[in-house]
Symmetry: C2
Subunit: 380 residues, 2 copies
């Protein structure tokens, strides 16, 4: 995700339009507001299709026999217990460490070095199942509360809310968060997935690759901005203040978070679905504020960049939905990452199945060869 | 680095020949055995130019006033103390964790979340200075010994050997390892550096980017193989067994580590320098074994791939030199990474100075849009 002010570009430096590989996982139809997992329109999956079934679709190539996928649900249940050594190392992190920082270390710790090449589906289950356990554990420590063990009678998404709060989550919240997980489970060759595939391409492992992917997702131009959308909404406060606030901010040359996306030249389909979900879970006054900011933000950005096809991106209504579910802003990007562990696993398996080391060239712009180190010894 | 058996390729999947950006740092002359840092031939820098001065060249664009760079030496000394919280978290890792696994977590821990965007040179000093402290500390724990504090009277490379062993390192070993650090300090747009630049391109931070880079370097097709070269040499044992061993291995379709490189279609200049250094530090019988394996390996690979321009790569004589210095094989790739922290820092600064989000496209090869989820609710 990026803001509204374009950055200075140099030839190919963003790899815009460069086709860096093939994938059967996700089609991003940026001109037509399409997002399709293996032929299935994601907007038709939400709300209602459990995350376990989306994981099944991504990892096996087809829907399960029944929902939620019994295969994936059972595998995640079995993979959920975290090894004692990993738990001990995670518990040694400062509780004050931001959850996103903690999560990068969690992913690096996961598996205790026990990963293979090529990556295996079972390793993906470990990644998908244990990441929320460690994240919730850290969040509980940060807020001075004991950890909550997962429940075998809850699905993956409900368990995450349960482990965070220790309270049986309301069905409407589970449905909304499940839809969020479904919608964010994969998204083609974005920056973090590209990084994951490069890491796998060196015959490194899924744990390393997921750590690297999270390091990438952390950047506010990618996945690190939804909490900034919420900050912006809170700062604006009421719909009548939106127009003035936005104009002042743009006049200062600052970014407006939650708008614009490299791939979409039309509405982000995930944003459309999340907007619909927000209508059912968000407080009406907060929803009205968000809708006003969206409208005024688009008007201002389109006026500033005539002809540019700018839309709200997925982070805009992500922030509204995650806030309505009750997640604190510091968990927004970590929660995005939890949803994406499914896509990361699927991309790792796909990359390894037809691998070639990903290593581009670079144009050297430094001085030509021939400078002499001032104090070099005479050559042999 | 990769082995000798080519992998199956698909269009552009390795980004071969795609120019993914500009850099004034390093020119890799793959046809002419050249490696040049900002105009300076690296082969003319070793042995003799201290690593601090190479860091200076990479970070400031020119050689320092005197060697070792007083600016960099002072900055590294000042940046070396590790925060208590980071040290405590690092000490909670299982001592049995392989050093490379531990190091990925160290990099994720470094700085305790206190990183900025754009990255700053001072953050690079922290990365360069503290990585060997934590690595040596882990190695000492793994071998049941107390940590050794750095000494202000030793340079960066000598300090690393000191912290590992607790013994004043012999000058010949320091000179050899210093040359290794100089030669490995940067190498253009390799896979880990490319990953680092993608991470920075999302406006993430240097700590995250270095963690991701190490996750990439870990792969045996990139930096994870030098210990396998040593294993191979040990398994072969004596020069007379080299030819037979190599032929058997290739006949089984297995990789021969230490040969071939995507960028070099001639001798790897670093390998030439390391070979020269090996002549001065390695045990003569081990050197003779290595030279025989190199000769027989090349003969066998060239016979198997007529016309292919195959040479020993940097890992081949890296393994010989690092072994001669007394480093155990499990520290080979971590030591490579320590040397590369200079290049990673320089690339991070360069990427941020003229940033554009790196996000390529992908060719979708899955089913077309239109499949219906078997149990989907009827649409609105």
């Amino acid at each position: 995700m990026r803001g509204s002010v374009p950055e200075r570009a140099s030839a190919n430096a963003g790899l815009d339009g460069v086709v860096a590989g093939r994938s059967a996982l996700t089609w991003v139809g940026g001109e037509t507001s399409d997002l399709v997992y293996r032929g299935y329109d994601v907007r038709a999956l939400v709300p209602g299709v459990p995350y376990e079934s989306v994981v099944h679709l991504l990892l096996f190539g087809e829907p399960p026999e029944s929902d939620p996928s019994p295969v994936v649900a059972g595998a995640l249940r079995g993979a959920r217990p975290v090894a004692a050594g990993v738990r001990a190392a995670a518990d040694a992190l400062a509780p004050s460490l931001p959850p996103l920082e903690a999560m990068r270390t969690h992913l690096s710790l996961l598996g205790g070095g026990d990963w293979s090449y090529p990556p295996r589906r079972e390793e993906g289950y470990r990644l998908i199942a244990q990441s929320p356990v460690l994240l919730a554990r850290h969040f509980r420590r940060a807020t001075g509360r004991p950890p909550v063990e997962a429940r075998d009678d809850l699905g993956h998404v409900a368990n995450y809310l349960w482990m965070l709060t220790g309270e049986a989550p309301a069905p409407a919240r589970v449905e909304a968060l499940e839809a969020y997980f479904d919608l964010l489970a994969d998204h083609g060759m974005n920056a973090s997935t590209f990084v994951l595939r490069i890491v796998i391409s060196t015959h490194s492992d899924l744990g390393s690759a997921a750590t690297a992917a999270l390091a990438t997702l952390k950047g506010p131009l990618h996945g690190g901005a939804p909490s900034r959308v919420l900050e912006m909404l809170r700062e604006i406060g009421t719909p009548d203040r939106a127009e003035g606030w936005i104009h002042e901010r743009l006049a200062r040359g600052e970014l407006l978070y939650g708008f614009g996306h490299r791939a979409y030249k039309s509405e982000d389909p995930r944003g459309l679905s999340l907007h619909a979900i927000a209508r059912s879970v968000a407080d009406p006054s907060r929803l009205r504020l968000a809708e006003t900011v969206e409208r005024e933000g688009l008007a201002a950005l389109r006026a500033a960049h005539p002809g540019a096809r700018i839309y709200a991106n997925v982070e805009f209504y992500s922030a509204v939905v995650l806030d309505a579910i009750g997640l604190p802003p510091e968990l927004f990007t970590p929660t995005f990452a939890l949803a994406r562990t499914a896509g990361w696993t699927a991309h790792a398996l796909e990359q390894a199945a037809e691998n070639r080391l990903i290593r581009p060239d670079v144009e050297y712009t430094g001085p030509p060869k021939g400078l002499r180190w001032p104090r070099a010894k005479p050559g042999p």
